[in-house]
Structure formats: structure tokens, C-alpha cells
Subunit: 430 residues, 4 copies
Amino acid sequence: MTATRTVELEGHIIDSGMMQRAFGLVMDLGGDFEVEEFVVGKHKDKTSHCRMAVSAGPDEDDAELQEILHELHQIGANLIDPVDARVVPAPADQVVPHGFYSTTNHPTRVRYESEWIDVENIEMDCAIVVEDDGDDVRAYTKVLNAIEEGDLVVTDEAGVRVDPPERPRDASGPFGFMQGGVSSERPSESLIKQVAEALEETKREGGNVLVVAGPALIHAGAAEDLARLVREGYVDMISAGNGFATHDIERGLYGTSLGMDMETMEHPRKGHKHHIYTISEVIRAGGIEEAVEEGLIGSGIMYECVQNDVPYVLAGSIRDDGPLPDTITDAVEAQNAIREQAHEADMVLMLSTLLHSVAVGNCLPSTTRVVCVDINPATVTQLLDRGSSQAIGMVTDIGTFVPTLADEVLTGDSSVTDGGEDAEEDAADD
Amino acid sequence: MTATRTVELEGHIIDSGMMQRAFGLVMDLGGDFEVEEFVVGKHKDKTSHCRMAVSAGPDEDDAELQEILHELHQIGANLIDPVDARVVPAPADQVVPHGFYSTTNHPTRVRYESEWIDVENIEMDCAIVVEDDGDDVRAYTKVLNAIEEGDLVVTDEAGVRVDPPERPRDASGPFGFMQGGVSSERPSESLIKQVAEALEETKREGGNVLVVAGPALIHAGAAEDLARLVREGYVDMISAGNGFATHDIERGLYGTSLGMDMETMEHPRKGHKHHIYTISEVIRAGGIEEAVEEGLIGSGIMYECVQNDVPYVLAGSIRDDGPLPDTITDAVEAQNAIREQAHEADMVLMLSTLLHSVAVGNCLPSTTRVVCVDINPATVTQLLDRGSSQAIGMVTDIGTFVPTLADEVLTGDSSVTDGGEDAEEDAADD
Amino acid sequence: MTATRTVELEGHIIDSGMMQRAFGLVMDLGGDFEVEEFVVGKHKDKTSHCRMAVSAGPDEDDAELQEILHELHQIGANLIDPVDARVVPAPADQVVPHGFYSTTNHPTRVRYESEWIDVENIEMDCAIVVEDDGDDVRAYTKVLNAIEEGDLVVTDEAGVRVDPPERPRDASGPFGFMQGGVSSERPSESLIKQVAEALEETKREGGNVLVVAGPALIHAGAAEDLARLVREGYVDMISAGNGFATHDIERGLYGTSLGMDMETMEHPRKGHKHHIYTISEVIRAGGIEEAVEEGLIGSGIMYECVQNDVPYVLAGSIRDDGPLPDTITDAVEAQNAIREQAHEADMVLMLSTLLHSVAVGNCLPSTTRVVCVDINPATVTQLLDRGSSQAIGMVTDIGTFVPTLADEVLTGDSSVTDGGEDAEEDAADD
Amino acid sequence: MTATRTVELEGHIIDSGMMQRAFGLVMDLGGDFEVEEFVVGKHKDKTSHCRMAVSAGPDEDDAELQEILHELHQIGANLIDPVDARVVPAPADQVVPHGFYSTTNHPTRVRYESEWIDVENIEMDCAIVVEDDGDDVRAYTKVLNAIEEGDLVVTDEAGVRVDPPERPRDASGPFGFMQGGVSSERPSESLIKQVAEALEETKREGGNVLVVAGPALIHAGAAEDLARLVREGYVDMISAGNGFATHDIERGLYGTSLGMDMETMEHPRKGHKHHIYTISEVIRAGGIEEAVEEGLIGSGIMYECVQNDVPYVLAGSIRDDGPLPDTITDAVEAQNAIREQAHEADMVLMLSTLLHSVAVGNCLPSTTRVVCVDINPATVTQLLDRGSSQAIGMVTDIGTFVPTLADEVLTGDSSVTDGGEDAEEDAADD
């Protein structure tokens, strides 16, 4: 007799594609299902409900069934059995118990002593640790390298519930306009206008905007426009790398005397010497903030960040020159800094960087608004594949996107600057 | 004893790269060279001169030497011997004599009865036909399918001279800013400003602007801005396909009632039915001009073309629906129409189309200004590889490029419309 | 009161995604639905059934409802009302009546005098013409340019039924391995092996294999391997362009003497002169077949086609040189030739050509097996977006794909050649 | 009066393009030149020599002239004046003196106390430090973060000579076949054959082969073939990231039971849980070597590295899970490890990774053989743009490239394994 387990799905399970994926998964993995109950929402604002028994194929063992249940779980098909999650102590630091539960990026609850507890700081590919100090029970995610010996780690899918966000019922809101689609065949200016509206809405609601940016933004001539957005309060945090900050500062340092290339393009050389010397001078000053204070840096994105108390994380990489004193060279430490930013963000603009966008995207819950912009469709696709389901991809030129966005946002009679300040206060409360 | 021929190169042969290519070619093809004379221009405004004897490798036959001479010729290294070009009658319609001379796209002369004659309508990969009616001697290019039995076709390289255009000495002119380079890592807005300046300069000088455009321009939302440029006299000719015209007309026809997609993007479906019906309606009217006259078409690029007497060539392709009555379905006939446009153009903007850009590019002399814009770097590279040496490639989003260009051109206090009218008169004289 | 119409969906409507698309469509287009009946298939081999009433939004008119019904229809949600299809005579040649029904590429039936008739030669974006000569009633597709005045053209969706192919229940068959997915992150050799199996299976079953190929295949060095596949009976038809055939023939003509580039790559020049001269020589001979007969062409893909009676269609394009006498220069005529090939094909290999692949894909029913191979992911995506739902996309190097495929197919102890001959007989019967 | 300095160029300065670049640079930067002497090599095996006086433009100051001289220097035009290099003590740790000399990746000498000294460990974008302990004088490169207060750092270009490698005279050697070109339109199998020959030649000569690889290689199904190359002695070092090693190990760990995807592709899920668990298990074992010893890892690339004493560097990144204990998480430390590998390598294969390839490429002298393989042409171009002039780019599918390369190398009657052993002994001596 084959083992069978019962799962249930609830919500807009048909038009969100959840039902399709569930059936597909079972069949892909060689399993079988029997629908025990299926109640379809009769109207578009009614949810549906499905309960089905799942079994592995005739020649498969229990491991196969676990695999099916695991995959079903990832997409929001939860085991029906009202059992507690099984917790097992971690055998050693950075080592998870066999069969540990690996998180999705969707809102998640675990059942512990017959109570459903929300999992804090949800983020994909983490373990869930339950902390019970007698009075208070908490469940939160931990990345592998933060696991300590003895941590109570959730294993298997039983007693864990996942609620993937659903397709917005109302397509008229700014983020209803495109569900995860990517295309270079769309009206670019209309799309940018909608991103501007989403940005303004986020600020009006006191939300935090995180900009993730790569050096191509500077090369494409968009630095001044991003600096304006920082100055006017539309950017609450920046996540970038050593190269991004250095190119921005170099543009300021050499802009008047030698860096004519950004304006007239008459100097085609790369000027690596300027690059190294820029870093050397910032090291001499002691860091970016100090270099702003002593007047070495007088304009640009990093300058506006310092002047407007916009925090930035500069993560190091093996292709960096220098690096700047502000750059976090240790990958684990940098990830932790990025993780904090990601958890505070309500909207994320990913601008022309694959590495940093993936790093930030890995830490985002699926409920955060994300816009990815790159001229390379492969980059946008790769980001969306790993990102949250509301992510919007746009294949366009960063050198025209940022100016158009800044014009759109900064020329209306918007009261956003106030909202921006509120947002900063909110962020400070976190 | 190995056969040897002497060639000479003249001009800015070092900084144009001609000398490097000449040496490289001989060595790539296994040949040998001996420099007999080399006079280098001492200043940047002085030309250089080189005369060298070329031979095939020791084990190679005369065919090898011919191959080397052929390739050297392509880049402007001309045989020194002051002999007449050899002309041979074409053996049949569309058949060239053995060893026929195949043109480059550079200014070319042939020596006939001891006189050097300019070759008319120069274009690459053609034969040169010499016409001597006793009084008057002419030389002009003919594509293979235009060759008629008995045409006097030039064979071999002897008696033919090619003068490739040289690198501009003065880098400050609009087309001095970038010699054939392509990059997505350049300041986009500055580049567009320079394209705008080149466009204005061309019109001021009474030149003709040819726009080559693909349907992606319409999908990207840039139709209205291109229509403005047509209306204001900045576009003298359009070269496109059946799909481009149909999408443009469809946008106008369904814009108010159903085509909400271009503005609000709420209707994501493709609407192929509209596409077919648009073509059907234009066929019913008898053609685009008739459809404008009867009021069916009331806006858009094609509308402005009809209203402003801007001629267009719509070339057919095997993926077309319909096609429209205006579309030239025969490839050879369409090429001939494109060829005429290409010969009249002083500046060509290639916007988001590989097929039509290559077709136009094939007919252009290397002295025509060309700007290629596409979001796919491979398209831009492929166009430049076949194009003229002054071609400028820009990897950007057509949906932001055209609006930015139109704003740049149409918001100054430019007197270009007058120039535009002159240009049309000039074109009419051709 | 809002107008309401009832549609029904039947089959594996959940796991094929049909149900999700149906709900999504109604909401995207601002409409509303009420599910009247929903019977879900309890097991994976049971079909589901849904009947729902659809209405346009409160402020929308009947045109909106028609739009919704049209889009629902495209994906297989058919109007329930058992009415006859409405047929209207075409008002003129190449002009369709208002509201004409535009086909999908799925199996389709129309209701005529209370009988459901299969639509012949189904192909997307066509009109359906009903022919009733008293005795016999037929329905078939016609492209716009084939419509004649008085043709009885089906209008609206009522009385038309569409049956989209469903997701294969059994994932173990060769084409079950990947449903429409595209990825460059897959094990390439395993994928090629599965394509080889599908190819062999098609031949074993007496099916016809159509190869659609671009010139990049020749440049990438895969000509000899494709020629082997033709010789051994694995290719029944070829669809290509003038450039493809010319490069293939040129490789043969100049292979020994000058065309060393394909082997040693020591001759980097393009050799356009060879290209033109090749065409000229074939014109002189009178065509490809004649050139094979007189011994001018002695190897290569076109040679094997002639020797093995494998028919080919060479479609012209505006970037062609020449063209060859075999090239069909009129786009409409070429489309008709391509259409015939497409209708005869049971499996289509699209190799490194966007233009020809789209042209062939436009004529294919959604039940034909399609494999698209290109190194550019954008090409593969674009093809699949327009193609049938079983299409398999593979992002790989054509220069290694074809040799690996040929080795896989030709080194087993396969009895496919017989099957190939049967297939040809079958094709002859069409 | 304008300041003037004299530079000279020597070698195959015309066909290497050096002369063209020199003239172009001076003009791009608004300067002027006067050729004082130009002796051209009369035959292809004779070098040329040029001496020219360079001045800044009339309105430019000395800084402009320095800029011109700096850029000329980068390409091998050296100041003629026989002066010593100017050395200035570094003012602080990681801070360079004003006007420091920034290295190219070409062989370089500095003049110190009237002697020309070779600069050791040449690498681009570094400072040159001169160490004079009385007896012995050395000059070597230092990256910015290695500079210590008081280091004698070379400033300006005077007293420094650069010798860019020249175009190979003999095009028949394996690396003569393509000078820095990239193209997807080349015969792929012939190219791979030539890479195989270069690999074999490198091993026969006792050279070291460094493979730089990304996780796409594993996903594309090429792991087993790379493992074979390691086992047979064709790979001396591997440079990769945490993801590469984890995917390789995961493939081994789950290959038999769950990881069916690599063979049958029936399990389309990403299996992130396996990924995390793989890392956790290696952490438990204590590292990759320990995991091999305890039998956890029994096959794959990392397994062969451990078994065959092939050293590997795994550099961390902010998108890593885990990481593995072997991964170097600090970017500066990782760069140093990569630098050591790069300096020992005689041939580098860069396989499907942009980040690691750029990091390795930054540390390579221009005399090391480099082959870059990626399916994305932008990646290959970006690598070559920064790489050495002999670098060969190939746009192909890594999933067919590695198997074809391995077959080519491992099926001949090659005596390479011996050479490989010699090479390892050589490497041990370093």
C-alpha cells in the first residue's frame, strides 16, 4: 500500500496558477493525486479551496513522497494534518539536522505546541529556528552560517504553512500593471511613468525605498539624476559595490579638470589611474564621509548620501580595486548588512547590476515591491526567476531610464519630500 | 621565381589603420611584401605614402597573388601600374565574366582609355559596367540581377582605384565624436544630443534624412514622437516593412476604442485580429494614401508621411500578414526601391530593425552618415560590421531614444523646417 | 442590465493552465464571471469541466464583451450556445467582413447547419471560409490575400470551437521532457539526445521532418553534418533562404582551392566576390539542380537535397545578393510554398534563423512538434512566444548542436532510413 | 611656447596597430606630433622604428601633455629621455604619492640608477615599488591595498618602458589563429580543435593550465568531462566560487537517489534544499578534502582535484549560500589567492563566469594565453576588452564545448599525461 498524505490549497488558487503548479508537480515527480474536495470561487473576488490526497508512484518509496510534499509546500500547498512542527537541535554550529525545513520567501507560519506562530524575517533558503524561553515563543529564519549548535531547527513540512501572495484582484494599482512580466516590446515611457507612481505612492505611505545600483549607471551618465532623487528624499538606502562608489566619486573629483569624457566624450581612455588615485585619496581622508567633510568630495550620489543621511552598503567583490575604506570586504558580513537593508525596504529599484541585485533579492520576502531595470534581458529574467512574484522587469537603457524617472517624479507638485522624511523616521524606529 | 606586383597606399594610411590592415592581409594570406618607399606625414595634417611590392608565398600560385591583391584593393591599396581596366562582356543576363571586379562601398575610379573615370552610384558587392557610346564614357555599378548580356564588366583590380574615407582630422564635428564604436557604457543622453545636432546640421545643409524603422519602435511607444519628427520636416524618407506600417495604422484605428494598451497597458493581449482587420480595411480603401484621404487613417507616422509628402518604401517579407497594397512583395523590386532611397540619403537613422537596416546598409556608400540604434548589442555590431566606417552604433531603448531625440530637436529655436523644405526640393531634383 | 454569455472549458483545464488564463483574461479585460458549474477531475487521467457566465464590466458596452469572448475563445473557452456559426460573404477580394473570426493554431470546428465541421489546414491569424456546394460542406482557413469576393467567411466566436492541445499526461515520451521551456542552464548533451530520439521516432512512424535553417549554420561549420542527415534520410524538406543555399554551394565550389577558411581559418576575409560569383555560376547553369547535374556542385546540403529528392523552398529577402534562380523572390508566393511544407511536416527543426522560423511557425498547427535552436535566447523566446505549445527551445551553439545530433542519430543501429523512405512515400500521397 | 617631449616606438609597430593607436591618441587628446624619424621594416620579419615629438594643444597646459604621454605610454610609446624613474615614498599605508605610475599588463622595465630593471609580477592597475637594500635592487608591482608607508613608488612615465606583445609573425601556431577576435559565426568544432591543440602544447612544454569556471558549467551537464580533464592531468589549478563547488558536490551527493534531473530532466525543481544541505554536510565534515576522505564526496570535479592534488581557490561572493569552509569570504584575501594562481598560469581557460574571469584576468600579464568561452557574447567581449591581446573569445555552449574539448584531448595517442606530471613538478618548484 502506498503512503498518502493530504494537502490543501486555499485562496485564488486557480488564477494565481497555484492549482496548475500543484497538479503539474505531482505528475512531474511521478506521483498521483485524488481530489477530495474542490470548491471554486464563483466570482472573481471569491477564493477557492482544494483538498487532495497525494501519493508517490507505485514503485517509489517514502523519500519520493517527501520530495513531492516538499515541492508542493514551496508553492503553498500545505499539509492538512494539524500536527506540530518537528524541531530538532542543530548538531553543530553551521550544521542543520537531517531533513531541515528550507524556507520559501513567502509569509510562513509554524505550528508549535498547537499554536500557529508567524515566522519572522522571512527569506528564502533559510532554516527556521524556534526559540522558546518559557514565556515567549518565537520563530525566525536563520541562514546556514548563523546556525548555532543546539538551535531548535524545524524539519519536514508538517506543521508549516506557506501563503504565497496572490495575483492582485485590482489591476489598476501601480503594481497591478504587469505581473512579473518582462518585455522589451512595451511602451517604455508609460512604464517609467508607472514606476514613478509606485515610487511616489511608496513614499506617501511612509515606505522605504532601497536602490541597488551598478557602475553601468555612472558610465551611462545617470549619476546626476540619481543624486537628485537622493537629495529630494526619494531614496532611503543604497546597496552597491566598491566600483559604483569609486566611479561616482571619480566623476566628481576629475569632472572639472580631466574627466571631460562624461560631457564631450573626447577622452575615450579608461583612466584607470584616476580610478586608483580616487580610492587612494579616499583612503587618505579616512573614508567617504571624511572625504565629504574635508571637501574632497563635493557632488554626486555618495555626496548626497552623506549630506542627507542616506545609509549605504558597499559590498566588496574579487574584481574590486582598492577597496575604499567603506567597502565591506567579507562576503558574509556584507550579506548581513544587505539583509538588514532588504528587511527594511518596502520598494526596491534594481538598476543595472546582476550581482548586487541577486544578493539583495535573496533576502527579500515575496511581499516587497521590486523593479529590475537592465539593458540585458538575460539579467532581468535571471533576477525575476529568483525574485518575488510581484517583481517587474524592464529591459531598457539605464542612461535614459533614470533621467526620465527623475523628471517624472521631481517635476510634479508632489508632497513626497515630507513623506520621505516620515519614512526615514519610520526606518529609524525599526 | 615568384610573381610580384606593386601597390601603393596614400593618405592618412597609418592612423586610419589602412597600413596595419595591408601588412596584416599579406601575412594572413601567406604572402610576402617588400616596402620600396615609405614617406610618413610628419604632422597630423600631412598624409603618408607607401609603395610596396607584394608576392604570394613560395609554394603558392598566381591565384594566391590575385587573392592578396584583391583583398588589398578592398582596403584602398591600389595597383601602381598605370594600365587600363580590363573590361569583358557579360556572357549572359545576370552572369558576370570570370574574375569580375566586385566593388567596395568606397569612392572608386576606373581607368578607361588612359582616363580615370568616377564610378557612379557606388555600392558594395556590385559589378562595374563601363558604357562607351562614342561621345561619352560612363562607369557605374550594377547588381548581379541587373547585368545584361554584353555589358562591359570590369575584371581584376588593375586599373581600379579605391579611396576609403579617412578618419576625421577634426574630432569636434558631430560625427567626429565616435568612430564606429559601439558601447552600452556611454552617457546616453549626451550621445542622443549629439545625434540631434548631426540631424539638425544635415537639415541645415539641405541634406536628406532617411529613417529605417522596425515595428519594435511602435511597440515601444515611440510612434507619436517619430510622427512629430516627420511633421516638422526632419524626416525626408522612410524605409520600413509591412508590419511597421500596419502596427502604426492599427494604433491609430483602435487607439480610442480598444487599443488602450499603448497608454494603460491594461489589455495585454496581442490582438492579431485587429492587425488583420487593419490590413483588410486599408486594402478596401485601396491603399494608405486613399485610407488617409477617406479619413480612415487620422494620425500616426504613415498619416504624417502622406500629409507631408514624405515618400516611404514598405518592403515585404515572408513573415508578413496581408500585406498592405503599398507593400512591395518582390524582393528584387523592393531592393531597387530601397537602393534609390539609399542613394538620395545624406544621413540614415536605423531604428530597431536588423533586416531593413542591413538591406539599406548594403546600398549605402561609405560616405553617408549612419546611426544605428537597437537594444540588442548584437544587432548594432552586425550592422556596423557591414556598414560604413563612419557609422555610429548606440545600444539603447528605442522607446526612450526617439522621445528624447524629438524633444532635443523640436524644442530649440531651430530654423530647420526651412532647411527641410529645401532638402525636399533637392531630393525632387534627383 | 449587462449582457452575459456562457462559455465552457473541458479537458485538463487546470494543469494545462487553461482555467488560469481564462480567469486572468476576464479580469484583465475588466469583465466579470460567475462559475455555474465546476467539476474537477479527481485523478490525473480524468478531465475537468467548467461552465461560467461572463459579462463585461459595469461601464462597458457590448464591444467589450465581444473582446473578452474573443480572447477566451483563443485559449479554448467555447461559447456554450449551440448556434450555427455566422457566415458573411467577403465584400471584395482580400477584404474580410466586419467581425470576421481570426483563427488560432489549434484544432478547430465550426457549426454549420447544426453540424460541427473540422476546419482544414488550421493555421493562426487566418479567416475560416465555409464552402457549401450542396452535396458537400467544407470549412478551411484562408489567409487574407487569398480571400475572394463572395467567400463565406465565419464571423464572431459563436458556433466555433477550439481544442488546444493538452499537457502530455505521460512525461516519459521524447516531447514530454520540456513543455515549452527555454533555458541555457540545462544539460546540453542530454537534451540533444532527446531531440535525436524524437527525430528517430518521427521517422519510425513515417513522419516528415522539415529543417528550417539559416546561414549561421554554414558559418558555424555544421554544413557537412546537416548534409549527412539529408543523405541518410532524416530530413524530408528544407526551408531556407537565398544566403543559406549560396553559402553552402560556395563552400563546395571554393573548398579545395580558396575556401580554406572553414578548415584552418587562415583566410579571415569575407570573400563577397566568391559569394556573387557562386550565384552567377548557378544562374549560368540554370539553377541548383542543373548545376549539380553538370558537376558544378559536388557536395554539401543542396547537393544532397538534389541527389536524394529532398525538396527545398528558398525564400527571398531584401538583403539577398543575386538571387539564385531557385529563390522565390515574391513574399506572398514564398509564403505559399512555405505553407505547403508546414502543412506536411510532423516535426520541425528550426536552426539559427529568426526570419524563416517565424515564417514557418506562422503556418504550423499547434499539434506539430517543433524544436528551436539558437545561441541567442531572445530568438528562441520570440519563436516560442509565437509557436505552438509543444515547442522546445534550446539555447546552444549550432556549430556543436548539429554534429552532436548527427552523431547521436547516425551511429546507432537504427533502421530509420527505411522509415525515411516510407515517409517520403507518405509525403508523395499528400 | 608649448612643452614638447619625445617618445619612441619600436617593433612591428605598424601591423600590431601600435603606430595607429599612437597617432590616434595624440589627436583624440587634442595634442600635436612631429615625426622626427620613421624607419619602416621592409620585410615582414623586420621591425620598424619611430621617434616623434609630442606636444599638447595650443591652449592646453602641462597636465594635458602628461595625460597624452601617459596614454602613449600605456600602448608602448616610451619616453626617449634616458632619465631615471622618479620614486617617491608612499605617504601612508594604502596611499600612493601624487602622480604615481599605474601599470599596464605588459612586460615593463624601470630605470633606476642608470640601470633598466625588469618589473616583477607585472599586472595592470598596480603601483611599481622599487626596493633597494644596498646590495640588491628589485622592482615589483603592488596593488593599492598592499602599499605600505615609505614604499618607494615610481611616479610619472619617465624612466619606465613598456613592451606590448606583438602580433605573432607565424600564424600557424595554435594561438596564431585568431588575434583577439570574438565571433559566433565561426566553425565551432575547428575552433575547439585548435584550443585542444594549444592545451596539449602547453602541457607538453610543461606549462600550467588554470581553469576558471562558473556554476553554469555544472548546470549545462559538463561536470563529468571537466572532471576527466582534471583526472588526466590537463588541469593544474581551478579558480571558482562557492556555488560552483557546491553544485558539483551536490550533483555527486544526490546523483543516485534524487538528482535525476541531470540525466532525465524529470525533476525540474531547483532543489535549493539539497544545495543548503550539501554545504551543511561539508561543514560537518570539516571541509571538501575531509569530505572526500570520509567518503561523503565520491566523484566530480572537486573530488578529482583532491585526489589528484590539483589546488583550487574558491572565492566568496555576496550571493553565496553557506559558504563552504573552503571558500575564502574576504575579497582582498581571495584576490591574493587568485593573484598567485594567475602568476603561475601559462594558459587560462575561462568557462562561463564573468565575475571570476574578470578577477583572474585583472591579475594576468599580457603574455599569458587566455581562452574565454561563454554563450553570452557580451560576457566574452567584456572579458577581452579587459584582457590581454592574445585572448581568444568563443561564443558557444559550455555544455557542448567541454565534452568536445575533452574528447579531442583525451582520445588521441597523446603523451600529455607525462607532460602534465612534469608540469606539476614545475609548479611545485615555483
